[in-house]
């Protein structure tokens, strides 16, 4: 039962624009201290972490296998102190 619920969480939002938008935003503004011009919200980060999770369905998609570049958005976010806090607050990130 627990496994089913977990899989369901990973498998929702398969192809939607939210995680894609956060990924792009992280690549552009993610390193900025204090969010820079674009302030990330906890929800943005949670969605990104969920989609970047190598245990989730995205890891099984051919275009997002765990390869070079896969973790770039998360890496960018981890440079900024404020965004780093959001990452650490995100369940599953560690």
């Amino acid at each position: 039962m627990r496994k089913t619920q977990k899989e369901m969480r990973y498998l929702t939002g398969f192809m939607e624009t939210g995680a894609s938008a956060t990924r792009v935003a992280a690549l552009v503004w993610g390193r900025d201290e204090d969010g820079g011009d674009l302030t990330f919200k906890q929800d943005d980060i949670d969605l990104l972490v969920e989609h970047q999770d190598h245990r989730g369905p995205w890891a099984n998609t051919p275009h997002l296998q765990l390869k070079e570049g896969y973790g770039q958005p998360l890496l960018c976010l981890s440079v900024s102190d404020r965004n780093k806090e959001l990452l650490l607050n995100s369940k599953g990130f560690m």
Binding site: E7, M8, L11, T12, G13, F14, M15, E16, T17, G18, S20, A21, T22, R23, V24, A25, L27, V28, W29, D37, L38, K41, D44, P57, N60, T61, P62, H63, L64, Q65, K67, E68, G69, Y70, Q72
Partner: protein
């Protein structure tokens, strides 16, 4: 009618009936979604599989020997899809007895190319000549005076035939001018026309570009051609139009995903990332904050173990063939 043998429903009538289905899909996508995925009457799979039909004859024919009329027949067969994807499959499959993901997988079993990336259906370069023919017809203006659903069908053909992993399909299409023709066609529409769901051609062109990009092998230079084509400005215009529209429910999800986010995601991981970042920063953050706060869904994938199995299968195939982009 679309399942009837060709002796009863010939080419011209088949094309007209297919086009009518496309027109109906644009008019009432939820109703057509319910009909083509139904389980108590002939559905879209029956159309593809009916023996002796005009479709069966076309599928049996070598795509390298297709005529222009064959290409129009293939395009006619693909007319219903663009309106079904425009608001996202959760909307347009809401009246079907099948689960949404089953509908998505059904669509992946269409006969031209291999959009489901099923290793057993890998067709390599088989459809390259047909795709080039379709591209030549689009470039030469042979679709200019055709009904909008037929034009969508032509671009849908360009999208779904890309889904192969061997045969150099994506390189062949790039060499044939695929990106140039796509951008020339897109230039016919302003950003608000592209973002809306009243016209389906621009989103279907972007769908084709997105599928080309997603399936291009890692050793094919896509970044140079994309930059040269001016897709950064296109993406910024798309995001601005989405915000200006102000009604996410009236926006075409394919335009947002393929006409902005997928393009930027590719370029921002490339050697051209810095100039792209500069342009995005100069454009401001309002439009980006809006797209973050107003996500759209193409497929939710809630139905699940099927999806996981499907992509695990694909992944295995990619691993074996060493293809696919990061």
């Amino acid at each position: 009618m679309l399942c009837a043998e060709s002796s009863k429903v010939g080419r011209e009538e088949y094309q007209r009936a297919s086009l009518l289905l496309g027109e109906m899909s644009a008019f009432e996508p939820v109703g057509v979604g319910g009909a083509i995925f139904c389980t108590d009457a002939p559905n879209i799979e029956d159309v593809w599989l009916a023996p002796g039909s005009e479709m069966a004859l076309l599928i049996a024919k070598d795509p390298g020997a297709w005529t222009r009329d064959d290409a129009r027949t293939a395009a006619a067969n693909l007319t219903p899809w663009a309106p079904l994807y425009a608001p996202g499959l959760p909307v347009t499959t809401s009246q079907t007895p099948k689960a949404e993901m089953d509908c998505a997988l059904t669509a992946c079993s269409e006969p031209f190319g291999n959009p489901g990336m099923d290793p057993s259906r890998e067709c390599g370069g088989k459809f390259i000549p047909a795709a080039r023919l379709m591209l030549d017809m689009l470039r030469a203006g042979e679709f200019d005076d055709q009904p909008e659903p037929l034009v969508c069908g032509a671009w849908q053909f360009m999208a779904w035939t890309q889904f192969v992993q061997t045969g150099g399909f994506q390189a062949a299409m790039l060499e044939a001018g695929f990106l140039d023709v796509a951008m020339a066609w897109l230039a016919r529409y302003n950003p608000m026309e592209r973002i809306g769901t009243k016209l389906h051609v621009p989103a279907t062109i972007l769908h084709a570009v997105g599928d080309w990009l997603a399936t291009a092998p890692a050793d094919l230079d896509v970044v140079g051609p994309l930059m040269e084509a001016g897709v950064v400005d296109l993406a910024i215009e798309t995001l601005a139009a989405y915000k200006m529209l102000g009604r996410p429910q009236d926006a075409n999800v394919l335009t947002v995903q393929y006409g902005a986010l997928e393009l930027l995601d590719t370029l921002l991981r490339s050697p051209e990332a810095e100039p792209v970042k500069s342009k995005l920063r100069s454009a401001g953050t309002d439009a980006f904050r809006y797209v973050l706060d107003h996500p759209l869904v193409i497929i939710t994938g809630k139905e699940t173990h099927l999806l996981r199995c499907h992509f695990m299968l694909k992944n295995e195939h990619f691993t074996k063939t060493g293809s696919g982009r990061t």
